[in-house]
């Protein structure tokens, strides 16, 4: 009888102690409710490019929280759409963009420097400050900083900016993906010719 009492008493004491610790922790470490807008904003790429139709990433985050579609972020790509739908518990939508924007190849802006007149218009348009230069001086793009958002192409008065695909380096190279379902059957060498197989049957 005594053993049972000790066992029950010990477990209850432990449980009470742990309960007290957790209760204390939940008061001590209380975090101000994390609003959904901040979580959405954290998933957006922060290019502030405005391709979603809102003036920046934060306003778009507010709009999404308010019920707008979550597939309008072009720089974020399909990845962001999937993450947003996971966060919001909504359906995964197809990225709302032109056909050209869905090409998976990453592109960066390139300024044909011989044609650049140094007007600084592209510098003002760049949301991530990836274009270097001054008035009357030739501009150039910092390739590592460029997000490929296209915003600098439009304002250029002499059309000297083009989008070029990023070259593959040893750092970014990956194994090519397997050919996909159905590929092995097509690759197989037919051991019995189709005509003769029909004759035999």
């Amino acid at each position: 009888m005594m053993t049972v009492l000790i066992a029950v008493g010990a477990l209850i004491t432990l449980a009470l102690l742990f309960g007290a610790i957790l209760g204390f922790a939940s008061v001590r470490f209380r975090v101000e409710g994390n609003p959904i807008v901040q979580q959405i904003d954290a998933l957006l790429p922060q290019t502030q490019c405005g391709q979603c139709g809102y003036p920046g990433c934060k306003p778009y985050a507010e709009a999404v929280a308010g019920g707008d579609l979550h597939n309008k972020c072009v720089p974020g790509g399909n990845d962001t759409v999937v993450k947003l739908s996971e966060l919001l518990g909504r359906e995964v939508l197809v990225l709302d963009a032109d056909e050209a924007d869905q090409v998976p190849v990453k592109k960066v802006a390139y300024i044909r420097e011989a044609e650049c007149i140094g007007c600084t218009k592209c510098i003002q348009a760049c949301p991530v400050d990836a274009i270097l230069g001054a008035a009357q001086k030739m501009h150039t793009v910092i390739t590592d900083e460029c997000t490929g958002c296209d915003l600098c192409v439009e304002p250029c008065p002499v059309d000297c900016i083009e989008m070029r695909p990023v070259a593959v380096t040893p750092q970014t190279w990956t194994w090519q993906k397997p050919d996909g379902i159905g590929a092995a059957a097509a690759r197989r060498i037919p051991l019995i010719e189709a005509g003769r197989a029909g004759e035999a049957a």
Partner: protein, 194 residues
């Protein structure tokens, strides 16, 4: 020092908790479809395993043994593990929101994971059971779990787009892959005897 190094190698490779002792298979199959989430899960599990194996050791040594309540170890350990994980979650949420975003989702998942309880119980059977060995076993189990989980997730990402025969698609090929990995890890057996 040498014993400790051997203990680590033994828990990480030779007696790998997932592929040799078959503990913690649920997250191994469940959280391995994307490499990114696998890395998060691996980090969270390593952290919890290290902490909980030390704490369960303390609970065993200073509560259960003196009171002669060794038969209550499973219940007590579950209690200790649950509290540890819950407390850690609250603390991390307050102290580092960034870390919480990486590990937070996985912490509650680990509470009821058999690898955590398994390591705590296996610790008791060790001959030289001290706080340091308990801590190292926990850490080794976590590192071993991380190793196989990340390797497996990387393979599954490629399997997902491969041309697998119809009957093998989905969980079947994943289990076959896990079995082959397990065979590979069995190759370490006999390397170290502790």
């Amino acid at each position: 020092m040498e014993t400790y190094a051997l203990l680590l190698i033994s828990t990480v490779l030779v007696n790998n908790f997932v592929l040799v002792q078959f503990l913690g298979l649920c997250p191994f199959m469940g959280v391995s479809s994307k490499l990114e989430s696998a890395v998060g899960m691996a980090a969270a599990t390593t952290f919890v395993l290290t902490l909980s194996s030390a704490l369960t050791f303390l609970a065993y040594q200073y509560v259960l043994l003196p009171l002669d309540l060794v038969y209550l170890r499973t219940v007590t350990f579950i209690l200790v593990i649950a509290v540890t994980v819950q407390f850690t979650e609250m603390f991390v949420k307050k102290a580092s929101p960034l870390l919480y975003r990486v590990l937070g989702v996985f912490l509650p998942l680990i509470t009821v994971n058999c690898i955590v309880l398994g390591v705590a119980l296996i610790n008791l059977k060790k001959m030289d059971n001290t706080l340091v060995t308990a801590l190292l076993t926990g850490l080794g189990a976590g590192v071993g779990f991380s190793l196989v989980l990340v390797l497996f997730a990387a393979m599954r990402e490629r399997i997902a787009v491969a041309d697998v025969p119809v009957a093998f698609r989905g969980p079947a090929i994943a289990l076959v892959t896990a079995g082959l990995m397990s065979l590979a890890f069995m190759g370490f057996s006999g390397l170290i005897r502790i």
